[in-house]
């Protein structure tokens, strides 16, 4: 099918918008049968998420039924209960750990990426691979010494401990991503600017920043997601003051017994920031997840 017929077809505007984002020069259309299969698979994968959100708006009595009652009346009670049961400090700890560590990661990664791409130092690939190799060390192997060091330093149950660990955890990813974005700054323009006598700040602000900003946002997003979702360090290194949202979720089940609707509300609530951010930046997500190796 050529572009012309597609534009002339009904709903053309919608298709045009979709294509601009996804297509490489007019991909072939899926047959009705395969469209059905695609949607069936999509709904199968989405079903648990939909069920989680739906159940979170049900009353407890309607949530745990067999067979399930998807059309039970909706209510906000579970969310109200969560906030009255003090989910807030956990969310604040999560927000603090994720946001501050993301800022620290960017502050460390951006100059590093600059030194590895725009003005590469010698043996810069070795440095890149050193950063990446730290990511391959399983976190569990570091848990014991980290636990002992943190205990000796009196830093157990402290958000700053998590911040330091999350910064180290995400720094290699951020360096790789930022390097890949900064590598896209056209060298010719940089050289021309330098020949014209532009100083470093001007070059950074006028040439590097506009190209790197979307990349910076994507990097921040990925770091935020990984920190927000982190569980192992959080559950083993915090107790009451510094616990984050995932720890709240697990503790809340064991402490209060099972309230399915409330569990679903809590699960929805803690997943919400990442869901929103992820939906908003889907195409950036791919590049971030593959460390910038795939565009």
């Amino acid at each position: 099918m050529t572009a012309h017929t597609a534009v002339a077809a009904p709903g053309a505007r919608f298709k045009k918008i979709l294509r601009r984002k996804d297509d490489h020069g007019g991909a072939p259309r899926l047959s009705p049968l395969w469209t059905f299969v695609a949607w069936l698979a999509t709904l199968a994968f989405f079903a648990p998420v939909a069920w989680m959100v739906l159940t979170s708006f049900h009353r407890e009595a309607d949530a745990a039924t067999n067979p399930p009652t998807p059309f039970a009346p909706l209510t906000l009670d579970q969310y109200k209960l969560l906030f009255s049961r003090d989910i807030t400090p956990f969310l604040l700890n999560s927000a603090m750990a994720s946001i501050i560590s993301t800022i620290l990661v960017l502050a460390l990664a951006v100059p590093t990426a600059y030194a590895l791409s725009i003005k590469p130092v010698r043996k810069w690939t070795d440095v890149m691979f050193f950063f990446l190799s730290t990511k391959f060390l399983p976190a569990i192997a570091a848990l014991l010494p980290v636990y002992l060091i943190v205990k000796d330093a009196g830093m157990l149950d402290n958000v700053w401990t998590l911040i330091v660990l999350y910064t180290a955890m995400n720094l290699p990813i951020a360096v790789w991503m930022m390097r890949s974005f900064l590598a896209e700054v056209p060298k010719e323009i940089l050289e021309a600017a330098e020949v014209d006598g532009a100083n470093l700040l001007t070059v950074l602000w006028r040439i590097v920043a506009p190209v790197a900003m979307p990349g910076l946002a994507a990097t921040a997003l990925i770091c935020f997601i990984f920190s927000w979702n982190e569980f192992m360090f959080a559950v083993n290194l915090t107790a009451t003051n510094a616990s984050t949202a995932p720890v709240f979720l697990v503790g809340f089940i064991t402490n209060e017994g099972l309230f399915l609707a409330r569990l679903c509300a809590a699960a929805t609530l803690v997943s919400l920031p990442v869901l929103i951010a992820g939906f908003a930046a889907q195409d950036k997500l791919v590049r971030g997840l593959s460390l910038g190796a795939v565009k």
């Binding site: 294509r19 996804d22 297509d23 490489h24 991909a27 072939p28 259309r29 899926l30 395969w34 695609a38 999509t42 994968f45 989405f46 648990p48 998420v49 989680m52 949530a63 745990a64 067999n66 067979p67 399930p68 460390l108 590093t112 600059y114 003005k119 590469p120 130092v121 010698r122 690939t125 050193f130 950063f131 730290t134 192997a141 570091a142 848990l143 010494p145 636990y147 002992l148 660990l165 910064t167 180290a168 720094l171 590598a183 997601i225 192992m232 949202a245 995932p246 979720l249 697990v250 569990l263 809590a266 699960a267 990442v274 992820g278 939906f279 889907q282 997500l285 791919v286 190796a293 795939v294």
Partner: protein, 319 residues
Amino acid sequence: MTTLTAPPKTASPPVRPRTSPRAGAWKRRIPLLPALIFTIIVTQLPFVATLVISTLQWNILKPGERHFVGLSNFKFVFTDERLRTAVLNTVVLTASVVLISVVLGLGLAMLLDRRFLGRGLARTMLIAPFLVMPVAAALLWKHAIYNPDYGLLNGTLNAVWRLFGAANGPTVDWVSSYPMPAVVISLVWQWTPFMMLILLAGLQAQPGDVLEAARMDGASALQTFRHITLPHLRQYIELGVLLGTIYVVQTFDAVYTITQGGPGSQTTNLPYEIYLTMFRKYEYGQAAAAGVVVVLGSIVIATFALRTIASLFREEVSR
């Protein structure tokens, strides 16, 4: 000094007057140092500490008895029944999750590479499992889906059975009856979108004219897939497998939440076993030794991973 020689394959920067080559090189290295020093301190020191602890007999419940025992913790790691089970479980869990999610991810990516009604929406919905907090996802599967009494799975079966006139559907305790598949399925659900995203990116990087040419030459869809698409996707598949492996090997949330490693030790993987050794048995020396073995195993995987990433990376640099 060779400081002015630019690294191969990168454009050589213009020579700046007034700064000596050596000072220039240091000026370039300075932005690098904070991150490098931070990373070395936070990631390499704990590993050195693990190495030291792995040579100690150290149980926190017996405080007076900490002493050097050489490599005997490693002997324990390699002969212990539980740890061997844990290694096996880790391999089974990782291999099945990665393979199944790559195959499903490839299928979904092939579908989403074509145009169809609501493709953008379908893509957004498909990403959702990857974005749900892993602990939340694990709890959701355990309680809202697998639960024998009111979980969605048995509930739906029950509803279907009733639809066909039976009084009650089957009651299966999924997690107790099929612990490993239960964990695997929940992780496949979570990781398939990741594979799909990477493979979709790969498909969309496929040069359209080659596909067009293949069509003109009368190649069937299957032939095009086998001889053009699959070879093109190879790198992306490798990347997905390796990144997936690195993350899935470390699975802790799902095991901790869904099965607690049980029943018995049927779903205990290495990270969870190390966690138990550390925080339940308090055998620090053994836990550290197991940790060192895991790191060595990861280095083997990582070597392959680095090679794959390096090949993608070279392509980009030489462009």
